[in-house]
């Protein structure tokens, strides 16, 4: 067990990479590679769950090439990785399973394995530059997957994604170089020791670059504008994977950066006193004085406002969902920036819930739109497979997105509101709470439009439909089960947050 555990991080990255030549070989032999790919993907998703088995060590460190972290690269399967590996694996699997077989030709499955390898690498690596490399693998394969339909919209989306993503990568690389120049190390676990507790100008500037690069990848206002354009042109299954799995991997890197680089999170705001405007200005000045975390709080506020308000006027479902993602990552970043253990736990919980909810809603599009091109809200119907079930599952997912009780999104949002308010960022709390109000307006519009009509034409039941349907139901089921398991999940998230904050300091 221990030997295997020590190798697991490597396997989680190397095996998906190995799948690429393997699939090529199978293709050359003339066999149908899809089923093999799906099976292999399912195995990888299962492997991602292995760290949860009893008896698995709490933290596994795999030193690549046998070199320690200050000179080589190490992979670290810690609590944070353990939480997000299954999320990435399962959602990636759902997205791959739900892919339209007509579209999923050529290098589709190899690319999805590269996406998985990159995401797993992002989550596991303890090395900033190595994270950059995996980020590139992830990004490049997602650029291609976004434009995979090879139609004008797809190419346009892919192009915009590439341009903005490249800028983000450049900023990131610049920041990584800066951090290395200042600290002489690239390992997350060494930054704290290598940098002074009050970091200098250069270190902070470099850290800002890294953070901004990651925020751009995540889509936080004002770095978010590409998101809807990119996701709107992507095949739906790909959009589900990107919005659920890949983003989670980026998020993990952001958390690692913020918890290890001095000047990161955990700054402790104090409640201000005085009249409203005095208080407001005191808060703002305190945020500014708080450096990066303070900026993150302000950015998260901007994301929530901009994301939700922009989503209000969208006519296409994929764009609406993309902007809603912007807002939800605003919530999550607010929790992260506050940096107390429970707030961070709330952020993790919300990230996990959001991944499933958003992936589910993206999978709703192929069920509800009458063609791949059209996802206008007004032309959606509640689907061709088992309409009542699809409709109710969709409403349930939207309830989760809004944060209404019997769906999982409520619990995490509730925790986020309480804890941001508690930690001295009540404006973030108010915005998170208000965000739900705006969200319900557009999600209700969506629900009324989609559920109000069932398709009149004859139902077309294809195997692909059944698969999309199954993947969609898994997401909805998760959102349902997770609400009733809030206790368990919150407990896990809290322990993860504790180790994340404790280990980084």
């Amino acid at each position: 067990m221990t030997v295997f555990a020590g190798h697991l991080p490597v396997f989680l990255i190397a095996l998906p990479l190995l799948a690429v030549p393997l699939l090529y070989l199978i293709d050359r032999l003339g066999a149908n590679s899809r089923n093999v790919a799906l099976l292999f993907y399912a195995l990888m998703a299962l492997a991602a769950g292995v760290p949860w088995l009893p008896g698995f060590p709490a933290e596994v460190v795999a030193e690549i090439g046998g070199w320690p972290a200050d000179i080589g690269i190490e992979l670290r399967l810690d609590a944070l990785a353990r939480l997000f590996l299954p999320v990435v694996g399962v959602i990636g699997l759902l997205g791959t399973v739900a892919a339209d077989p007509g579209e999923a030709t050529g290098p589709f499955y190899p690319l999805s394995f590269l996406l998985l390898a990159g995401s797993n690498g992002l989550i596991l690596t303890n090395d900033l530059f190595n994270a950059y490399v995996f980020l590139e693998i992830t990004s490049i394969s997602s650029y291609a997957l976004v434009g995979f339909r090879r139609d004008t919209r797809g190419f346009e989306s892919g192009f915009k994604y590439i341009v903005v993503g490249s800028l983000a990568s450049v900023l990131l690389l610049w920041g990584i170089a800066g951090l290395y120049a200042v600290s002489g190390t690239l390992a997350f676990s060494r930054f704290a020791a290598a940098l002074p507790a009050v970091p200098g100008r250069a270190a902070v500037a470099a850290a800002v670059l890294v953070v901004v690069g990651l925020l751009t990848k995540l889509g936080i206002a004002p770095f978010h504008a590409w998101k809807a354009d990119a996701l709107a042109g992507a095949p739906r299954s790909v959009a589900a994977t990107l919005a659920g799995a890949t983003v989670s991997a980026y998020f993990v890197v952001l958390v690692r950066v913020l918890t290890t680089v001095p000047g990161g999170i955990g700054f402790g705001l104090r409640p201000a006193t005085g009249g409203f405007f005095m208080r407001l200005s005191a808060y703002v000045s305190e945020f500014v004085a708080a450096g990066i975390p303070g900026m993150l709080i302000l950015l998260s506020g901007a994301s929530i406002i901009v994301g939700h308000l922009t989503a209000l006027r969208q006519t296409r479902l994929s764009r609406l969902l993309a902007y809603s993602s912007v807002a939800h990552f605003g919530y999550i970043i607010a929790g992260v920036a506050v940096g107390t253990v429970p707030a961070l736990a709330g952020a993790f919980l919300h990230a996990v819930h959001h991944a499933f909810m958003k992936a589910g809603l993206f999978l709703f599009i192929p069920l509800a739109a009458d063609s791949a091109e059209r996802d206008r809200i007004t032309s959606l119907t509640c689907g061709r497979t088992a309409p009542a079930l699809v409709g109710s599952a969709m409403i349930f997912l939207t309830m989760g997105m809004v944060g209404i009780p019997p769906a999982a999104g409520f619990a995490s949002k509730w925790i986020l509101v309480l804890e941001t308010a508690r930690a001295g960022a009540p404006f973030a709390a108010i915005l998170i709470a208000l965000g739900g109000a705006i969200a319900l307006v557009y999600y209700l519009r969506l629900s009324l439009a989609a559920v109000g009509r069932t398709r009149s034409s004859s139902p077309r039941r294809s195997p692909a439909d059944v698969r999309v349907f199954a993947a969609f139901l898994v997401c909805a089921g998760y959102v349902f089960v997770a609400f009733w398991a809030t206790d368990l999940l919150a407990g896990i998230a809290i322990s993860v947050a504790e180790t994340t904050l404790g280990g980084g300091g």
């Binding site: 915009k160 800002v208 770095f223 504008a225 308010a421 108010i430 739900g436 009324l448």
Partner: protein
């Protein structure tokens, strides 16, 4: 918050509900009234199964809300009340338009409440229902509760919804929606003289706006605003007896306001319109209804043997601010004028000839008549024909019976007030003495109506609408959204510009 806290919060409510007399009173009243209201609805019209489910959720959440011990369950039930109402409204013929107004305001309230709870939790570290009011975020919570209670600048959702839904729906909704806002104030806010005066002011302004209405349902809706003012003055007071009075007023209001809505439903279904001035002396053709209406009006105006008298007296007696008391007295007179007008025009006076007086000048919603007549092809003078079912005299009789039961309840609640609600002061009962003082304000009201109403009416109708601020607000919002849309129009150069500018700002702030 830890997971243990989270589960405890839920479990606490389920295992050990909070049983105090105030909560019991409110819950019991809502439950009892809602049963009658359901029967009332069922007597006349056929509603879909899911309508009943939604309405039941709405009412059940309202009934459970007083028993919660912690803020989490409070919030959840609060949301359930809203969602139930959304479900009910979704079955209305004009659901989209209704929800467009109803939802944002309700959700704003929910969001504000949630963040207020967050602030309280932040300061106190506990999610249990606070004994002394919220320790932090009370202002935000008050804003949320005011929206729910339909206090005057944010009353819009209530007046517009209650006047645009099918009339029976308003009967069901009137029992819970605004009331839990007031009840929330009772539970969450530790008030003071400011809140008392604010309540008094709301009562007066509500009455003034009610006086100028000519559609029955607008008239009742603005009276809800006014009555909520009374309740706020009561529960917002720090004096315990005033709080009890406020709660008792809440319970009374559920009964007599529901009763008034029922009367209005029957009037509308009888006459096919809801213009007060064209009811054509319904008292002659519907004598029982007239008696019921008199009882309800007397109750709301605070006439002695009825329940409204008791609660109003208790509130006025124990308020700490004399200004608030004065305001409530004025509102009382206004209520009396208003309901004298109601009774006079609807039941006793013959109709004004059509075209006399300016039609439809001061109603908040232009299209009221279209909605107050549910079935397009209603036979003139016939009975109820909602959802295409022919009216039956039996159903009308059943409805009258329900109304009579409720008017009896008004009397019983007035006479046995202390027995029903022990938190009231012991001398709150109706005595002979009370007739001497209690009759004075209504008498003034009647007198003023007789002498001055015809002169007052044009002046009232010239008042600016209470929804003066909505148009600039909505244009501003539209403009903002359009500008946002502009920024996301697909121009990559603009996206890159935003990224770099964001970077510059953050850098400037962080390193300079």
């Amino acid at each position: 918050m830890s997971s243990a806290q989270f589960s405890n919060a839920v479990a606490a409510t389920v295992r050990s509900p909070l049983l105090d007399s105030g909560g019991l009173l409110v819950a019991a009243t809502i439950a009892a009234f809602s049963l009658l209201a359901f029967a009332f609805v069922a007597a006349g019209v056929r509603r879909r199964f899911w309508w009943w489910v939604a309405a039941s959720v709405h009412v059940a959440a309202g009934v459970l809300l007083p028993f919660t011990r912690d803020l989490l369950s409070f919030f959840v039930l609060w949301e359930m009340v809203t969602l139930g109402a959304v479900g009910v409204l979704a079955f209305e013929p004009d659901a989209r338009r209704l929800l467009r107004l109803y939802l944002p305001l309700q959700l704003l309230a929910a969001a504000l409440l949630m963040s207020a709870f967050g602030a309280h939790y932040g300061v106190s570290g506990s999610l249990l229902l606070p004994v002394q009011g919220l320790e932090a975020g009370a202002g935000v919570a008050l804003a949320a509760l005011s929206i729910k209670a339909a206090v005057i600048p944010v009353h819009l959702w209530m007046t517009r919804t209650y006047t645009a839904v099918r009339p029976e729906t308003a009967v069901v909704l009137s029992a819970v929606a605004t009331k839990i806002g007031v009840f929330g104030m009772y539970r969450l806010i530790s008030g003071g003289p400011t809140l008392e005066i604010a309540g008094g002011a709301v009562a007066v302004v509500g009455v003034i706006y009610a006086l100028r209405q000519k559609q029955l349902r607008h008239f009742l809706a603005f009276h809800i605003v006014s009555q909520v003012g009374y309740m706020i003055a009561g529960v917002g007071s720090t004096v315990a007896f005033a709080g009890a009075g406020g709660l008792f007023h809440l319970a009374n209001n559920v009964v007599y306001k529901g009763l008034l809505f029922m009367v209005v439903v029957m009037l509308i279904s009888r006459f096919g319109h809801s213009n007060i001035y064209r009811m054509n002396g319904a008292g002659r053709s519907m004598p029982v209804l007239a008696v019921v209406a008199v009882v309800a009006s007397a109750s709301i105006s605070g006439l002695p043997p009825f329940n409204g008298y008791v609660s109003k007296t208790v509130i006025e007696q124990f308020l700490s601010s004399p200004v608030a008391v004065a305001l409530l007295r004025i509102a009382g007179v206004g209520t009396a004028i208003s309901f004298t007008k109601f009774l006079w025009y609807c039941f006793f006076k013959r109709a004004e000839p059509r075209g006399a007086g300016r039609e439809d000048t001061c109603d908040e919603i232009v299209g009221d008549n279209a909605h107050s007549v549910p079935a397009r092809s209603r036979p003139a003078g016939g009975g109820v024909a909602v959802d295409g079912r022919p009216a039956a005299h039996a159903s009308a009789r059943r409805r009258i019976a329900i109304a009579v039961i409720l008017s009896l309840a008004c009397v019983v609640m007035g006479l046995a007030a202390v027995a029903i609600f022990p938190a009231l002061p012991a001398d709150a009962a109706v005595t002979l003495e009370s007739f001497r003082f209690g009759l004075v304000p209504p008498a003034i009201g009647v007198l003023l109506f007789a002498l001055a109403y015809s002169r007052l009416r044009p002046a009232l109708e010239r008042l600016p609408s209470a929804t003066l601020y909505t148009r600039p607000l909505s244009t501003g919002a539209t403009r903002l959204l359009r500008a946002l849309q502009e920024q996301h129009s697909g121009d990559v150069r603009r996206y890159l510009g935003w990224i770099l500018m964001g970077l510059i700002v953050i850098w400037a702030v962080v390193i300079l």
